[in-house]
Symmetry: D2
């Protein structure tokens, strides 16, 4: 699970860091590394995106391989598994620049199989690999408040501890690569079931004459208070579902979590019941709305009845 | 829904308050009323329990009727629906002392039907009625941090606003009597489903090699963080279930919530799936453990498999 | 569980039988007893209904008590638990005419508690009691092809074996009174879940382009062929639900079966999932349609989507 | 969906038929074709298996291509999707021998994607394709009582109508290729849910003191009587599960049916609840037992309780 070469601790003014994938997230994360005093080399498919970082002191390389050649530790934030595999494995990609003593930290959100493929390639070139999907979006990225769910080589986790703390407020080392992806599935599965149960509570309340806002306020004061209820509740009460996390993505995560449960023989009847409701919501044409729109599958026919 | 006589606002030094039912909760609540400057008359089935309050300035009456005769507004904290009905309706009970201008506030946790019966009797004697079950136990009662879920006569709610604020940190007026009981069921139903989903998350995590404590820590940092997860999670990870809220009571609340959904034609598939798991836990002999012991129904056979 | 007096075997030309409750079912059943050579005494709340039987040789009594006084064994077919209790326990009711050596066989469909109440009263008067709900409606009653699910006194079951065989094609002795009601619940619970699963099969088939009639025909040839699928399938394919067994009654049986499972700590997740769908169908206003209308809850929003 | 060349009707004494895959099923099916007067050419990976047929008049070819070259219509019964693809697409495979006027009928049980791949290859060579999975095993194959669930080219279905009737008692044409596989999934999904509901009924009956055999007998007389209940019920009552259809295969079919529902946005809460129970049974180590062993997941902890 650990690579052979000893990995040096990353320190500002001492260690060169690489960053490939300069989108909204990558830009904010790299900026925080520069501010913290790190020397940073960057690359992006569309080099225009690297301009602002160049002005702030970053060096722009012409390929992922060149980034890795120049840096001790290279981070990557890519859009999906296909991009992650391509940037790692293409002829001028990350693996082509890896050698003993270097490490590659993929902070993209990808599935366990993708992580394992990249990990094997990086290690066969003598480097260390860390899967490190983040929890948190643009705001937390800018404020250095991301959460890193890392897995893979634990000595690389230790070596990049300082830059992770620059970019985030919390970091976990969870086990061999794949564990980060699994943790995201577990948490999203619980989140999906909680949302559906909350929608049931709101629907039942409505049917017995209680106000949605009263339920939201009472919940907010007790043992089950959760930021999600406070944030989404009022919009759900108004049956408004501006997409933050699209319902079809939540349903995909339920499906993947159920498949994982099937694989390891763990029955998940709550997730299965929730999944049926998310599929019902998709059938109602709500796949692109926020996942809180599962409310419509829970309370849908009620509206029909009122029409009669 | 409102009583006919105008109800005066309760104020310290001006309004006499009654309190029947001096147990752990009633004692703490009455003490706070005395400290706030109210003149208080009390009664308890076992008069010994009233002694400490007498020394702090309360008057002890010889029956619920005598309390109500002496006080403008009388609170009651009784152990169950049977006690609530008895104290209200016995020959020397609350209703026998009620007259226009007086109000009765039952802060016990009883079902909607019991509340409606007492409300009708109080109103037929010319008084006002407020159902006001509390959320919170001994600690919050002592600190004046209870939450009141009230329902019944809204002008009585307004009139006793000041003493409710002395005893609690929040109060809700939810509608006609019965609404307080319904709100408790709705919230407990969501809580029961959340606990079961969380147990599924822990069980799945375990099967794929993630540590329970890591799941608990990641959850605590995100959108689904809830005090209940932080409080119960570590004990569940240790498969220790010291009873705070017994599983059989949680299962009873699921059953009652499902019956309410049936009555108003609201399907509740999440609550139904959770209920099956609580019943399975009861079958395993865990009814008197904490409701977080539903973990054993979610992950139970796993243990058996390991034995093989 | 057995009564003290020895019970004589009922034989045509030798034993007088009673029958109270001459509706559609009672009329057909009594007629078969007369045809078989039994001397029969009858009573009905509305005596008009007894006229045809009088012409066929029955004696008409003026009260349930008079029937029981004249007969050795008295059968009753009443509409609901209230009628069953009234006819048994009223001053001129069944129990008033009971004495040792006589037996009372209630073929109505009532709950276990009602059966137990009547059994206790009959036994305290020295008689034997048999709960004997029937499976089958008008047609089978006329053809003597009912099925009797009996419970209570086994020696009474033996004594009335001959008249039961006249009225039915099969009879079961299931245990102490209440067992007949429980068997009906168990069978109806399985039936309700089967119908819902079949509806899911039809809905999925439709979505992938298979014809409902093909599904019905394939099912009819295999291991899961059941008369219910052959009978209801074509109507379901046409989304036509003429009530034979109303959906609200099927849902009530699901509710009662789930309550029984709760009582004995048997989780019933399939019945619970089916129950949610029957409640959803009730919410759609389908409670008075045939229970196969649960199809609309399974496939409902599909229609909405097609409208878009 | 139809091939271009006109297809001649297969008739004994006139049409040469091919059969590739001579296992238990293929042997019995081919034998029936020979008996009916057809000239038959056969091939099997292990040529030993063809010996008995040769003695009965069949010609043995040296490759699938040679069978197809010699025959107008060729049937195939292969063990799994991999074998089906290999026999069709290998250099000396079925497609290499196809030309306009010929047809290929794959009676193996494969998934929709495999059927579509083979169909495309056969058609591009000018031939017709029919997917025709069978329902029924050795006995029905020998007696010519199989059921064919066909899909693909409807004119090929018409052309091979006579030989299908020789081998089977019923045949369905269900639509474009893939429809046969879908029909099997739909029927197996309903079967899996029925079995689980039946197990719930037996478990509940047991808990309330009813005998399993009484439940089985009552069910057998009513609207939900199904051959599966009569066949498996007594063994389930004895908690004996000799594998006819292994539980892990039934669970795989539930998983595939749920995936199909997900794909076409059809919620399947009954199948999802049943699937959780089959996974629980797998966790108990029952994957290789008969699928009726789901009984143990439904009633499992009961045994534990009795031990206490």
């Amino acid at each position: 699970m650990t690579c052979n070469a000893t990995l040096a601790e990353a320190a500002p003014g001492k260690t060169v860091l690489g960053f490939v994938g300069i989108g909204i997230m990558g830009l904010a994360m790299t900026r925080n590394l520069i501010k913290a005093g790190y020397e940073v080399v960057v690359w992006n498919r569309n080099p225009e995106k690297c301009k602002p970082l160049e002005q702030e002191g970053a060096r722009v390389a012409s390929s992922p391989r060149d980034v890795v050649s120049a840096a001790t530790y290279t981070f990557a934030m890519l859009s999906d598994p296909e991009a992650a595999l391509d940037v790692a494995l293409r002829p001028d990609g990350v693996v082509a620049g890896i050698s003993p003593g270097k490490g590659y930290i993929d902070v993209s959100t990808v599935d366990a199989a993708t992580s394992r493929t990249i990990a094997a390639a990086v290690r066969s070139a003598g480097g260390g690999f860390l899967e490190a999907p983040v929890s948190g979006s643009k705001g937390p990225a800018e404020q250095g408040k991301l959460i890193f769910l890392t897995a893979g080589d634990e000595d690389l986790f230790a070596a990049v501890s300082a830059p992770l703390d620059v970019m985030g407020k919390a970091k976990f080392f969870l086990g061999p690569e794949g564990a980060g992806a699994h943790m995201k599935l577990v948490v999203n599965m619980v989140m999906g079931a909680m949302m559906t149960s909350f929608a049931e509570g709101l629907a039942l309340a409505d049917k017995v004459g209680l106000k949605h806002q009263d339920v939201i306020d009472v919940v907010a004061l007790g043992a089950i208070a959760a930021p999600m209820f406070a944030l989404k509740g009022p919009a759900m009460a108004a049956r408004s579902y501006n997409p933050a996390f699209p319902l079809k993505h939540q349903q995909k995560d339920m499906r993947l979590a159920l498949a994982l449960g099937d694989e390891v023989a763990q029955p998940l009847p709550m997730a299965a019941a929730a999944n049926s409701l998310y599929i019902a919501a998709r059938r109602q044409g709500l796949g692109d709305m926020d996942f809180s729109a599962v409310m419509e599958a829970v309370a849908a026919q009620e509206a029909d009845t009122k029409k009669q």
